[in-house]
Symmetry: C2
Subunit: 607 residues, 2 copies
Amino acid sequence: MCGIVGMVGGDLTIKKLVDALRKLEYRGYDSAGIAFRTNEGLRVEKSAGKIDVLESHLGNMMSTGVLQGMAHTRWATHGEPSDFNAHPHTDCTGKIAVVHNGIIENFDELRTALESNGHIFKSSTDTEVIAHLIEDHYRGDLITALRHTLVDLEGAYAIGVMHQDHPDIIVAARKGSPLVIGATQGGGFMASDVTPLLKYLRDVHFMEDGELAVIKTGNVQILKLDGTPKVKAPTRITWSEDAAEKGGYPHFMLKEIYEEPQTLRNAITGRIKSKLPHFRELEKMGEDLTKIKGITVLACGTSYHAGLVFQRFVQDYAGIRAEIDVASEFRYRNLPLGEGDVVIAISQSGETADTLEGIRKARQSGAKVVSLTNVVGSTISRESDAVIYINAGPEIGVAATKTYVAQLAVLLLLGASLALNKRNPEVISQLVNEIEGLPTVFESVLASADEQCQRLAREYYQFRHFMYIGRGYSYPSALEGALKLKEISYIHASGYQAGELKHGPIALLDRDFPVFAIIPEDELKAKMLSNIMETRARDAKVVAICSESDREVSRAVNSRIEVPKVSAPLYPLVMSPYLQLFAYHVAVARGYDPDRPRNLAKSVTVE
Amino acid sequence: MCGIVGMVGGDLTIKKLVDALRKLEYRGYDSAGIAFRTNEGLRVEKSAGKIDVLESHLGNMMSTGVLQGMAHTRWATHGEPSDFNAHPHTDCTGKIAVVHNGIIENFDELRTALESNGHIFKSSTDTEVIAHLIEDHYRGDLITALRHTLVDLEGAYAIGVMHQDHPDIIVAARKGSPLVIGATQGGGFMASDVTPLLKYLRDVHFMEDGELAVIKTGNVQILKLDGTPKVKAPTRITWSEDAAEKGGYPHFMLKEIYEEPQTLRNAITGRIKSKLPHFRELEKMGEDLTKIKGITVLACGTSYHAGLVFQRFVQDYAGIRAEIDVASEFRYRNLPLGEGDVVIAISQSGETADTLEGIRKARQSGAKVVSLTNVVGSTISRESDAVIYINAGPEIGVAATKTYVAQLAVLLLLGASLALNKRNPEVISQLVNEIEGLPTVFESVLASADEQCQRLAREYYQFRHFMYIGRGYSYPSALEGALKLKEISYIHASGYQAGELKHGPIALLDRDFPVFAIIPEDELKAKMLSNIMETRARDAKVVAICSESDREVSRAVNSRIEVPKVSAPLYPLVMSPYLQLFAYHVAVARGYDPDRPRNLAKSVTVE
């Protein structure tokens, strides 16, 4: 997730471009850069760090008037955050500049081919191949060159391109990553979201997958890949700037839940090869991964819940012994770890203090550490033997939502890849295929989940207690559902293995203490139904989250939400938006700001 | 823990003896038996099962008048519950009958010696050696024979002895197990507690360790082991019969907490040999225990918390990889268990359905199962490769108290025994020595804990929420403390690793949500203090359970309880009575019956 802006024509200055870019800083702040066209030609300036760093680097150039320009703020995926890897990227001639948000999956092959044709690369990014491809395909018409380039690309992108010989246009394309364009008599505009544009115009086009555009003063022209024009009416934006930052949603949390289909796409992209899971990041681990004696998962909070799913999955599916511990406990344990042990450390921020110390301890003992994080170049990513990025982009809401979904998707693919030597590839590719279909499943889920969860929240927001229960793969969902409610609605919610209720916690239940049962269509459903009956016998109300048209559950509970049917290990994913939306609407109904829960911080860098 | 009664003289009938025995049925009901002296001589009748079975076996003998008699209801320790193993036991001549409550630690050596001298044994109990020893030492004076016998015995006992040639007396001795005696003109009496005697007398002697007694109509004579008489004033009992059943305590739960010093003694007895831990029960496991690849602990509820302590201890102390799972989850997991894996299954009742199924699954996969239970002959004990009994005796209170303490003591000794090949024996024997001293520590704890906990309960019983936190060995204590409160006071209490608070749960805290911090003097104290400061900053009240005269903690918290200093792995034991007493007094203050919490059953034989 990166942020891009582009402007052409009118009384454009570098300052206008940088100011516009600031509106997108929430999308990443590893590095920033700008390409601009003065009468002297096309020039690129960029630097690692936040936009402030770029601004002081630009110094008194800021007021320079330019013909066209594009700027980029980066959330690193391929290549460390550095000056070299910052966007924009240019071709060999320096005449073409490209900004890109997304991931080019086949960049390795493309780069090899381009290099063998004599192209010289200056960065280690996937994006740079786009500039060189356009250079290759350019015969005087920039949009045609871009059309040919898109044919070569696999992956997700929002792309903006400038060419020194075309100072009056910016060309753009979108597949999988957002891009908004528009034009007035004062100039042409493009950006990753609408916020930087609101100062200049209200009628915009949200580009759709497969569309290209030529942007100039006065109008934008939208084309299909084959070059035929598309005629579309613009969308009029009535949001305030504040609402626009949140994509029109009242809170970042809700916006980020709605980003989950895209988050899933980004998490999966590049990690499936010939229908099987593939992690390029792990190639350097070599035998350490094929000869695993045991896995230890290390995490805190929501990441710990993702880890619980992984622990079960890797045991069930790959037949590998797997333990899990919260990092604050792990680091003070005397664990018999050593050669052959692999630690999977999960931290959204990559800076979680306890997890970091756990990693150090594990490596000292001789174990190898693979970390899963959202932040390229974070301390944890630097101190691990291998890093897998979940590519979820910045998350503003303090309570994790889309990053949990991204963690789960990556962990399932990772678990499946560890099963490659032990399972029929056909079985694995079936599961992978199902994971690949999840973004679409999530889109249909999000089309109706919000209304269902809001209705439920209205019914239950006044309770002071909740007991979330689940079994098997749904136990981590129970913990995570309870945690979400605790974090943002301050309702005391407990998560339990449903089978443990009778060993004590059931004493709590009565008419004032409802149960939230997570009960998908799996082999444990019958046991869950028995547990639900026991809680009903104590007068507790039961909300169930169950599979579509499950009549047995419907009859047994007071209220329910229905989720699409998927394979058992995928339920923790499909359950997530419902649990998150329920917590969200309860918090809102109780009058709290879900984006800024009391007492909490986004990145826990203390112990 | 067994129950014994004895009566001599007056208008005694078998029915009177059996009725008296019923008052002790709470002490065990695996088998029952009676020895009685009619004009025809001494006779013994006994049968497996409850006292009802004995009564129907006796049939119309019930009304028979007898000169003297002793009866016994058994909680099996050595030897399965069966007719043969039921008490009373007799010598070779059949003239001597013995009832016994306790464990004779050196019975194996004694039996071997007796057998090589020609004695024929009829049972597999430890008790029968007493009868044969008395036979050996008897020269016409029963009390002298008993004095010599006691010199041979190691272990704990309350013993009653009858001899056919002495129909007017019963002789008795006590060390470690309770025995109450008394006499009126209507006869002489003895029993494990005062309840069976209240119908006949109110002035009794609670025998002390090392005392012997000759009981007859009109008086009891108390002697020391060397034969010198002791003069003691009797104690007048003013309790009602109902109160007497509870040992004078208002609830069984409180009585059972006060039994913990004795429970500890019983749990430890026979498990230390030459200052090192020793489990005779495990000898048959042979190499399975010296070549452990890994341990998996399997349990539910409170037993699970004891298992958490063991898991940590066996990792820390014995350097053995150890995992833990709640049984209801374990049984549906696909765990890579096999040869070299040892499963430690913990179930107080020995009948917990999920644990039993987990054991079956583990054994099918090739793992060996060692179970820890309180009930001899229970299903789990029969289906395991080896069984270790915690010897806590029946627990009437539904919320586990003394059995948790017994589990912890046995598990620590077990963990220490697994470290025998890996650690300096000196280090192990130091720890064992500290464990041996725990009963005395508990006695001093219980002298003041009740008052402290009651004071605290008065301060906090009106809160509706509690957050229990701990780190390391104190994390299981946090879970167990929270569970006790949930079970009997219905206050919603959560147990958390203190380091996890910041990852979400801390959002719950405010002035209405107090924190119960378990913070002993160990290497994690500084971290705990930081966590406490964080919770104080949220206006939450903090109760701490800390080490004696810890000024740092005192300054940081609102209220505190002080516990004696012990080594880190022993804190879960020492914390227990405080956590239990706090929950008890809160429940009482809230008007609930702590013995019979709503919605709960003692033995969970459903899933």
